[in-house]
Each structure stands twice: as structure tokens, then as C-alpha cells.
């Protein structure tokens, strides 16, 4: 069925709540209002106020409560409205949730999900527009995945709810209203740690994540070269085998990242592939990212911040022709 991404998320949660009575949902305005982005449509009506709760504006309290409820038998799905808001409750995710299994010698599990909207494109300004994977990336004990549309949001959400670890699912906010075909059911669950290859190709491997997957696909569809586009989906753990196998065949790796350049998620992929595929690579690994600046307000500026399909096509074209690293667009400004 054709679903918007927010409907696919509501459906995934709803199915998991029906399947397991231990699944509960809470967050700011997720119950009565069905979510600021309508990602919990119908949940309160179907499952009632014991299992679907509105919280105060108290991220530390409700993420911490998710940790406690998860360790003692429930499977909470907590919503952080904008990823920036996790900042006020960061301890609960990276120092508590992530370490409880370890700290109990493996005897306590923390089967909780933290969902958050991320990304630029809607004009929310510098405190509400980042992706911030890097805040959580590389935290042992914490799984991290990013949806790229309705289908992957459905598949990842179900996998996350069934996982026995704390899982963070990031949802590009600009995609909530976009529709994709979703086939509900077990087959559509996407195992955490597995990437998908929405487009096969032979000249270059483009690895994208979240909102940049569509950008990479659009670039590839209109380019004279043949690109294999990989939707990475999970960052912790990430699917090394799929990426390495592809780069061995194409000899080129380009990463398309929405985050700012320094410390972006692509650095880890680049470093692993650079070592593993050293002799297969026929050009430097290339990262296409946003510049190291806050997300600007104003549609033209914000559009420029996020790599566009035209820009990706230009950059990949230059890489393939010159076999050297093309300069980023902002070089003239810094």
C-alpha cells in the first residue's frame, strides 16, 4: 500500500503493539494529538492511555523512564520530537541505556527504542535542523539506524522494537509526508545492521543515508556513468560486507552525507573501506557533505546546505574523470 512515512511509522508501531502487549509508547504530544508529525496515528484510540502516554516536557524523565521500564520488562518506544532535544537527556541514552547490559554482566537488557525526527529542509533554523548521527555514533551498546522513506521506516521501526538493545531510529523530517509502497508484514522487516542496494551499477559506489538516498538516486539516474547506490540504513552496526563488496567491483566510493564535514558518519566508512579496499580503489574515496556551518534559515540557503542531486552528479563526474578529489562548493567562501 502507498503510505506516507509518518503513516508507515504509525503502522509499524501499531502492529508491534498488537503483537506484544509490553510495547508502550510515550513522548510529547504523541497520544491525544497523535504526534507533532503524526507518527502515532490511532495508537491512543486503539491501545488506550495505559500504553500510549503524553509526557511533560521532560526528556530526561521520559528517556530515563524508558530505560527503567525496558530493563524491568516493557518495550518502550519513546519519541524525541527533534533530535536536538535529546541533548538535555543525553546521559540516559549514551551513559545509561547503552551500558546497562554491560554493567549487569549481561543480566539486564534494555529493549527500548528512541525515535527522533532529524534533518534540514523545512526552514526550522539552526537549533531544529541537524541530523546529529555523530552524537550517538560509536557508542558501544547503542544501535543506530536512519530511515530513508516510508518503506525503510516501517522495516527499521519493527526491527528496533523487537531488538533487545537500546536502538535509536532517526527519521528525516522532510520525508514524513512522502509516499512509498509499503508491503506490511514480516518480510518487510529490515534487520538492523543491513544495508540495501536500491540501484545496481558498475562505475562507482555511492553510499547514502536518510535524506541523501533520494538525492543520490536522482543523481545516478540522470548521470552518464553507472552508479551503484547503497542505502546504508544502519550506522551501528553498519553493513561492511555490502559496501566493501560493491567497492571491490566499482573501484570508487563516494559518500553522500547531510551532516557537516568534520566528524560526519562517512569518516568511519571511508576509513574502513580505505583499508579494506586499498588495492581495488582507482580514485580517492570522496565525501560529499554539508559545510562546517550551522544549518541556515531561508529556503535558498538551506537548499544549498544539503547536497543536491546536481551537485552530487557534478562531484562524482569530476572524481571519475580526474581521479582526484574535487573541491567542495564552499571552497571560495572559507
Amino acid at each position: 500500500m502507498r503510505l506516507r512515512m509518518n503513516q508507515a511509522i504509525s503502522l509499524a508501531i501499531s502492529e508491534e503493539m498488537a503483537r506484544d502487549e509490553n510495547v508502550i509508547v510515550f513522548g510529547e504530544d504523541v497520544a491525544v494529538a497523535e504526534g507533532p508529525f503524526k507518527t502515532s496515528e490511532g495508537l491512543l484510540t486503539t491501545f488506550g492511555p495505559d500504553r500510549v502516554r503524553d509526557t511533560p516536557i521532560s526528556e530526561t524523565a521520559f528517556l530515563g523512564a524508558a530505560v527503567g521500564a525496558a530493563m524491568t520488562g516493557l518495550r518502550p518506544v519513546a519519541e524525541i520530537m527533534f533530535i536536538e532535544f535529546v541533548g538535555v537527556a543525553f546521559d540516559q541514552m549514551v551513559t545509561e541505556a547503552a551500558l546497562m547490559h554491560y554493567m549487569s554482566g549481561g543480566r539486564y537488557d534494555v529493549p527500548m527504542v528512541m525515535r527522533a525526527s532529524v534533518g534540514s529542509g523545512l526552514g526550522f533554523g539552526c537549533q531544529h535542523s541537524q541530523t546529529l548521527e555523530r552524537w550517538m555514533l560509536g557508542t558501544p551498546g547503542l544501535k543506530l539506524a536512519v530511515a530513508s522513506g516510508a518503506r525503510s521506516a516501517y522495516g527499521l521501526t519493527k526491527a528496533a522494537i523487537r531488538d533487545n538493545n537500546p536502538v535509536v531510529i532517526l527519521e528525516p523530517r522532510a520525508l514524513y509526508g512522502q509516499r512509498e509502497n509499503v508491503e506490511p508484514g514480516e518480510e518487510s522487516i529490515i534487520a538492523l545492521g543491513t544495508a540495501q542496494t536500491p540501484r545496481a551499477g558498475s562505475d562507482v559506489t555511492i553510499v547514502a543515508l536518510g535524506q541523501t538516498v533520494n538525492v543520490a538516486l536522482e543523481a545516478a539516474d540522470t548521470a552518464p556513468w553507472s552508479a551503484e547506490v547503497i542505502d546504508l540504513l544502519s550506522l551501528m552496526p553498519w553493513d561492511r560486507a555490502t559496501v566493501i563488496d560493491s567497492v571491490r567491483r566499482t573501484g570508487h566510493l563516494v559518500l553522500v552525507e547531510e551532516n557537516q564535514r568534520t566528524g560526519g558518519w562517512g569518516t568511519e566508512i571511508a576509513s574502513v573501506v580505505g583499508s579494506a579496499c586499498f588495492s581495488d580503489l582507482r580514485a580517492p574515496i570522496h565525501r560529499i557533505t554539508a559545510p562546517d556551518v550551522p544549518v541556515p534559515y531561508g529556503p535558498d540557503l538551506e537548499k544549498r546546505f544539503l547536497p543536491s542531486a546536481d551537485y552530487v552528479r557534478e562531484q562524482v563526474g569530476a572524481l571519475l574523470t580526474t581521479k582526484t578529489t574535487p573541491s567542495p562548493w564552499w571552497e571560495e567562501f572559507v
Binding site: 494529538a33 507533532p36 556551518v293 534559515y297 535558498d300 546546505f305
Partner: protein
């Protein structure tokens, strides 16, 4: 403009005007209402991207607070900050300009509706993270205390913000350190779409001050002079070394939480009850009754304010949008040479 005001920034002048005259305070409340209405219109016309949080109905809190403080005090506000910025002195063109992403805006159009600031009147950058400004105001007060100045820091926030850790941590530390800070909670009965009673264990936010052995005051947020009086008491306490105060202003927002919110969660009749106590009407009636203002002067004031906003809008629309080069400005402060 008086001689002594030459070279003084426009926002500072506007703050003096407001501090000196009741009529100016009425005028400023009108200005805030008109600017907020205009911002909503511009959004409706698709001239603005993103979101905005306007403050129609809460004008008396902004103006009462500004009237009780000095341009040299520091103020932390929130994403619902257009009214506060105007009350403190920022001009409508600068506010509208930022909201519309134009270079005339206070961030050159790179911040948008939620990010206003003006050091000339002590407005720190408005905080889009709930509660974030509360400890920052404590820090500004610490600065005054450390330097033995008689300045005061103020933090404005909503009822919903009092459920976040930063509120409790900030108030406690301010009390323990006896800092010159005034916490002003605009209790508009809702945090986003949630009614206060569904998220908050107390109905009078001011009672939370007792946990921190702090002075508190509850005030009618629709009455600009009551707000002014309460904030003045708190500010005097702070300047005199008496420590922090929590002031709760009971108020109401006449519009949705943000641009897309039609406020279906309102209780029946509630909006009408609050509209009947419109802060601008209440104050206008008071000035009419006292003879400070004639009915014709009031009409003229409305016309004039509306005209000024038209002019400001024109100026803003003539100002270019932010440039790509500006994206790279102000990320880091320059290294001292």
C-alpha cells in the same frame, strides 16, 4: 529625538520611550499585536518558510517586564520571542526582517523566527530549546554578582518549561548563590498541545519556588501594570542583594502553538473568556478612564501603528535575502590578535 540620544541605537531609544511613558507602553503592546498578526499573514501568503510561534494575548507580560527593567539588564527569551524583542526595544523591521530571512534582520536572515537577539537592549539570543535560557540567565546574573554591578538577569519561559530539569537546577543554584535573577513564567495554560493539568503536578507554577526557598509572586498577565509592578518588586529585590524571584504571569495565547496549530485542544468557551480580557483593551480602557488618552487619540494610535508596520514590511520586502557567503559568517568569534 533629544540631544542626549544622538548616536544611541534605535532599540535603546525605544526602550527609554517605553520606560518613560504609559502611552508608549500601550503603543508597544499594539505594535506587538500588529507585528504578530502580520507575521501570520505573511506565513499564510507563503512568504515565509519554516515555522513561527506568535504571542497574541501575551503582550502585557512582554511590555510589563520591559518597563520594569533597564536596557543594561540581560534577558533570556524563547522561540515565542517576537513580542519580547519588540518590547525590549528591537524595531519591527529588524524582527520582521529576521522572520522573513532578510538581511535587515538581526541575524542577517540566517536565524529565522526563533532566533532574535539585540545586545543594545540586553536581549540574549532567543532559545529554541525549552528551558535552555533558564541556566543561561543564572550565568548572566552570576556575571553581575561577580562584578558587583547592580544589573539583573531575567529569564522568560513558559509553563511547560517548568517540567524540565534546567528549570529546577537553575532555580536551585540561583537561590543557593543568592543571584540577582528574576524568573518570569508566562503560564499560558498549554505546552504545545497539552493542557497544563495533564503535564504539570501543580496549577500555580509560583508554588515551585518554595522548593528553592525563593520569593515568588503570581500576577495577572493580562494587566500590564500588574506585571510591571511584580517584576519591579522582584528586580528591586535582586538589585538590593535579596536574591532571585519566581514571578508567574497568568496569561493565554490567542493563537495556536505554532504556525500549523489550529488549537483544537482548547476548552469550550476558554478562548472567549480570555479574549474578554484582552491586555491591550484593558490598558486602553484604563488610559481612557484616566484621561491620559482620548478616544480619537486611541483611534489615531491604532492607525499610526498599523501604518508603521506597513512601512516596516515594505522595507523588509525590499531587503535582500541572506546570501550564501553569509552562511560562513559568525561561526567562530575572531581569535584575539
Amino acid at each position: 529625538m533629544t540631544e542626549s540620544m544622538a548616536g544611541v541605537p534605535r532599540s535603546t531609544q525605544r526602550r527609554h520611550e517605553l520606560n518613560e511613558s504609559r502611552v508608549a507602553r500601550l503603543e508597544r503592546m499594539m505594535e506587538i499585536r500588529l507585528v504578530e498578526d502580520r507575521i501570520q499573514d505573511l506565513f499564510a501568503q507563503g512568504l515565509v518558510s519554516g515555522t513561527t510561534h506568535t504571542s497574541q494575548g501575551q503582550e502585557a507580560v512582554a511590555v510589563g517586564l520591559a518597563a520594569a527593567t533597564r536596557a543594561t539588564d540581560f534577558v533570556c527569551c524563547t522561540y515565542r520571542g517576537h513580542g519580547h524583542a519588540l518590547a525590549l526595544g528591537m524595531t519591527p523591521d529588524v524582527v520582521l526582517g529576521e522572520v522573513l530571512g532578510r538581511q535587515i534582520g538581526c541575524m542577517g536572515g540566517l536565524g529565522g523566527s526563533m532566533h532574535l537577539s539585540d545586545p543594545d537592549v540586553g536581549l540574549l539570543p532567543t532559545f529554541a530549546i525549552v528551558g535552555a535560557g533558564i541556566p543561561v540567565a543564572v550565568g548572566a546574573a552570576l556575571q553581575f554578582a561577580t562584578r558587583r554591578s547592580d544589573g539583573v538577569a531575567l529569564s522568560l519561559f513558559g509553563d511547560g518549561a517548568t517540567n524540565i530539569g534546567a528549570f529546577h537546577e537553575g532555580l536551585n543554584m540561583a537561590a543557593v548563590w543568592n543571584l540577582p535573577v528574576v524568573f518570569v513564567c508566562e503560564n499560558n495554560l498549554y505546552g504545545e498541545y497539552s493542557p497544563l493539568e495533564t503535564t504539570t503536578a501543580v496549577s500555580d507554577i509560583a508554588t515551585r519556588a518554595t522548593s528553592y526557598a525563593m520569593a515568588a509572586d503570581v500576577v495577572d498577565g493580562q494587566d500590564v501594570e500588574a506585571v510591571q509592578a511584580a517584576v519591579t518588586r522582584a528586580v528591586e529585590r535582586a538589585r538590593g542583594g535579596g536574591g532571585p524571584t519566581l514571578v508567574e504571569a497568568k496569561t493565554y495565547r490567542y493563537v495556536g502553538h505554532s504556525r500549523s496549530d489550529k488549537a483544537p485542544y482548547r476548552k469550550e468557551g476558554e478562548l472567549d473568556e480570555w479574549l474578554a480580557r484582552d491586555p491591550i483593551e484593558l490598558f486602553a480602557q484604563k488610559l481612557l478612564a484616566s484621561g491620559e488618552l482620548s478616544a480619537s487619540a486611541l483611534d489615531e494610535m491604532r492607525r499610526h501603528q498599523s501604518h508603521l508596520i506597513d512601512e516596516a514590511q515594505e522595507q523588509v520586502l525590499a531587503s535582500p535575502t541572506g546570501t550564501i557567503a553569509q552562511m560562513f559568517d559568525n561561526v567562530f568569534a575572531p581569535t584575539p590578535s
